[in-house]
């Protein structure tokens, strides 16, 4: 076997592609341009075969219809852990007409004009990754009205790459911090739809078109899309994908609104279920309503979760977010083991800092309960389970997470940091 794992893209309307030469295969199932589900198989279970693909198609496409057809109760509203509440009844399922035609119409749609889109990519000392990202953007079905690259490096390392691509607005923001960089992008942007991605992704050709279409169909403040793995070539990437679940994200659209906020708030409003900063888009009005990104948070500052903290504010102020898996980007996970450990530590530190910020700004004690009770319980449970199963790698990741949690606790005792509560930059 050459690689520990491989990603295979399978269009359920076509013949099964060849089985990659890898011990584990992550199949991403598509229905034309529509991503509908995934499945992990070991080599001995492949090829899946026609009958099995047929059964997979029936199950996944039924989920798509239930999640996308208004006549069947769509869009579904997120509940605990971000899982959608079931609303389908036998009567509606039995009466739903033209099933074959509806299935056909899901597979592809005409592109939407993305002239209103300002696409903002923040980068820091990763010119090669940024170049790969910009190449993928050239293949968008609908090009954005403007493309802004915010260079968060001290020395302006992205300037050279950006000059090789035409139509790129280059902004240099040397003060470190992802939130700071994103806010610089927002202030520069002229479009009514502001789309964010990171330098370590490649976009699916229909990505921007689907974001524009979704804003046209739903009156929501924010849209998050699906973040799929671009490749699984190293053990660290596999661990992030298979054990940690990568960026999660449902394959059916899910609405996160005041109902979700009310339902999950007693357990620490699970806003991180909404999506990932690598694939999110806002209407301009969202920033007018809730302010910009909190510059105390995010990579380069406290770690991460500047995205979910903004979603928290939006929901707390009556806004709503829609997860639309049709908008797809492919993410290059951290390749080395040390980078993954560092990432998990920083994620946890950022998560804790965002919880402190939310508790301070909104008096939400459940956020503190998550820091002091839920997270330690998760550490103990995961630790015991990994010990029992002899999973050393999971334990190492857990230790990194615990370190991040301890670092995060320090934000509780930083009076100056906390004094800036509820002071968000504005447009």
């Amino acid at each position: 076997m050459n690689a520990p794992a491989a990603v295979r893209h399978v269009d359920l309307r076509r013949a099964e592609p060849a089985v990659p030469d890898a011990g584990l295969v992550l199949d991403i199932f598509w229905w034309g341009d529509l991503p509908v589900g995934s499945r992990t198989s070991i080599r001995a279970e492949l090829p899946l075969g026609e009958g099995q693909l047929q059964a997979i198609a029936a199950e996944l496409m039924a989920e798509q219809l239930a999640g996308r057809e208004v006549a069947l109760g769509a869009p579904l509203v997120a509940g605990n852990e971000g899982r959608p509440h079931a609303v389908l009844g036998v009567g509606r399922a039995a009466a739903f007409s033209h099933v074959a035609e509806r299935l056909q119409s899901l597979s592809s749609r005409a592109p939407c004009d993305a002239g209103e889109v300002s696409l903002i990519i923040c980068t820091r000392d990763r010119p090669e990754a940024l170049g790969r990202c910009l190449v993928s953007l050239a293949h968008q079905q609908s090009l954005p009205g403007e493309l802004i690259v915010v260079d968060n490096s001290a020395g302006g390392s992205a300037r050279q790459v950006c000059s090789e691509f035409g139509q790129v607005t280059y902004v240099h923001e040397p003060e470190p911090g992802l939130s700071r960089a994103r806010n610089a992008g927002v202030r520069r942007a002229r479009g009514s739809i502001l789309v964010f991605t990171d330098d370590d992704v490649e976009a699916h050709p229909g990505w921007l078109s689907e974001i524009v279409r979704t804003f046209g169909e739903h009156d929501v403040d924010c849209i998050t899309g699906l973040v799929l793995p671009a490749a699984l070539e190293t053990e660290a990437q596999c661990e992030f994908q298979f054990t940690l679940g990568a960026f999660g994200g449902s394959f059916v659209p899910v609405l996160f609104d005041h109902r979700f906020f009310a339902e999950t708030k007693p357990h620490g409003a699970q806003v991180w279920r909404i999506g990932a900063g690598a694939n999110m888009a806002f209407r301009r009005r969202a920033f007018e309503r809730a302010g910009l990104f909190d510059e105390r948070l995010g990579a380069g500052a406290s770690g991460c979760s500047e995205d979910s903290e903004l979603w928290y504010r939006l929901l707390a102020l009556g806004g709503s977010c829609l997860h639309e898996p049709r908008a797809v980007v492919l993410h290059h996970h951290r390749a080395s083991w040390s980078a993954l450990l560092d990432q998990m530590r920083v994620y946890m530190r950022g998560h804790v800092s965002a919880l402190v910020a939310q508790a301070d700004a909104f008096g939400d004690r459940a956020c503190l309960k998550r820091i002091g009770w839920q997270l330690p319980r998760y550490f103990v449970r995961t630790g015991l389970k990994s010990l029992a199963r002899g999973r050393g790698r999971r334990l190492r990741i857990l230790l990194a997470e615990v370190r991040g949690w301890l670092e995060g606790l320090t934000y509780l005792v930083r009076p100056r940091w906390r004094r800036r509560r509820g002071e968000w930059p504005t447009l």
């Binding site: 009958g51 496409m61 989920e63 009844g89 036998v90 009567g91 399922a93």
Partner: protein
């Protein structure tokens, strides 16, 4: 204490169902256009009417997704895997001993099936494992069934006899305590069509009735159910690193079918397993395991369904759990030696199984479910006996039986 079984066709109007005075609830077999899509048990006041609205709301909660999935499946172009191949011939083998009435019930249910044009031919072989009742007469009353006598007592002797008598490309085994569902034959065809190169097929096992406390308890504890989705099994599984050891998730021996030539190549069933009284189990696990290890797939198809008459008394049920433990561990002990390549998985299976039994026992004790705890102990004790040399003891017994017969 009994439950009423309700066959609920969801493509038509739902009508109220009255319960009798002794019925404290009901079990629903939900269908969409005849195809079973779900099962659900519900407690209910004895003797009360189950209104149409109440049934509809239960159906909404438990079966709506399955209805939609069935409709999507019908709308998708069918799998073309089996197209262009001429339909196989089928031998249906029923192994029986002293259950003339139940056998007649099964033969009647087979008689009522619509002929399935996809099969080039169907024969029914009843292997009589030394009955002293009117089994022969019961078979004679059905024109399509052939009676074969196998004197060597033991289910796998009977199954191997059926294998040598059969002519079909596929051979389907049925126990005498089931009746087939109206979609049984069509379900087997559709499973074969979806994977014509599969080594074997298994199907859904629903309760025939929930008349006694033991039958209800068995179903509450999960019964034979393996779900309502078609599943393919191969010789490994990402989600279950022990697979195919403990291949019980594949199906149950009372309703299984195989490529007959493959079974002959594999040397048939292991006659030291499923031998009746001394070692009544493990034979199905063993054959599923060997088919999968030969590199061929096993397909579980819910439309290929039977209705099984569960054990009627608590004592019989307890014995069944004991025999499950015995059969499983006798099989593990055997195949650990015959298949050294997977010896580690066999060892891990024993450890996992003991832990699982312990967890089930503690769960029962916590809920003060003493009967459940007893069942678990019986199964564990069976397992310990099975692992402690039962397979060798059985082989000696079987050799004696074979020698005596020749």
């Amino acid at each position: 204490m009994s439950y009423r079984l309700i066959d609920l066709e969801l493509s038509g109007p739902i009508t109220p169902v009255p319960l009798e005075s002794g019925q404290h609830g009901f079990g629903i077999v939900a269908r969409w256009r005849g195809r079973p899509i779900g099962f659900h048990l519900e407690e209910w006041p004895a003797g009360a009417l189950v209104g149409a609205d109440e049934l509809a709301s239960i159906a909404d909660r438990h079966f709506a997704e399955a209805v939609l999935a069935a409709r999507v499946e019908d709308a998708l172009p069918p799998s073309a895997a089996g197209d262009g191949r001429s339909g196989p011939t089928l031998s249906i083998a029923i192994c029986t001993r002293n259950r003339a009435q139940r056998l007649a019930r099964l033969l009647r249910s087979l008689d009522e099936l619509r002929p399935e044009p996809s099969f080039a031919g169907v024969e029914i072989i009843v292997v009589d494992n030394g009955s002293t009742d009117d089994t022969k007469g019961a078979v004679a009353r059905f024109a399509g069934a052939r009676h074969v006598l196998e004197r060597k007592a033991g289910l796998n002797f009977a199954r191997n006899r059926a294998l040598s008598e059969a002519k079909g490309d596929l051979i389907a085994f049925l126990d005498d305590d089931v009746v087939v569902d109206a979609g049984w034959l069509a379900g087997l065809v559709s499973a074969w069509r979806s994977r014509p190169d599969a080594g074997g097929f298994s199907g859904l096992v629903l309760p025939y009735r929930l008349q006694t406390e033991a039958q209800l308890l068995f179903e509450r504890r999960g019964g034979f159910r393996r779900g309502f989705k078609r599943i393919e099994f191969r010789a490994g599984n990402y989600h279950n690193p022990l697979f195919p050891v403990g291949a019980g998730s594949v199906g149950a021996g009372c309703n299984m079918a195989f490529d007959r030539r493959l079974l002959l190549d594999l040397g048939g069933f292991d006659e030291a397993l499923d031998t009746g009284a001394p070692l009544p189990g493990g034979g199905d696990l063993d054959i599923f395991y060997r088919v999968l290890r030969s590199g061929r797939a096993m397909v579980y198809e819910p439309r290929y369904a039977v209705h099984h008459e569960h054990r009627e008394t608590l004592a019989e049920l307890q014995r069944q759990y004991w025999s499950w433990g015995l059969g499983l561990m006798a099989f593990v002990a055997k195949s650990r030696r015959s298949d050294p390549e997977l010896a580690r998985r066999h060892r891990a299976m024993v450890a996992w199984w003991l832990g699982d039994q312990a967890r089930a026992f503690l769960r029962s004790v916590r809920r003060s479910d003493l009967r459940g705890a007893r069942f678990t102990l019986a199964e564990t004790w069976g397992g310990v006996m099975g692992f402690a040399g039962e397979y060798e003891r059985s082989r000696a017994r079987v050799a004696a039986i074979a020698a005596e017969a020749s």
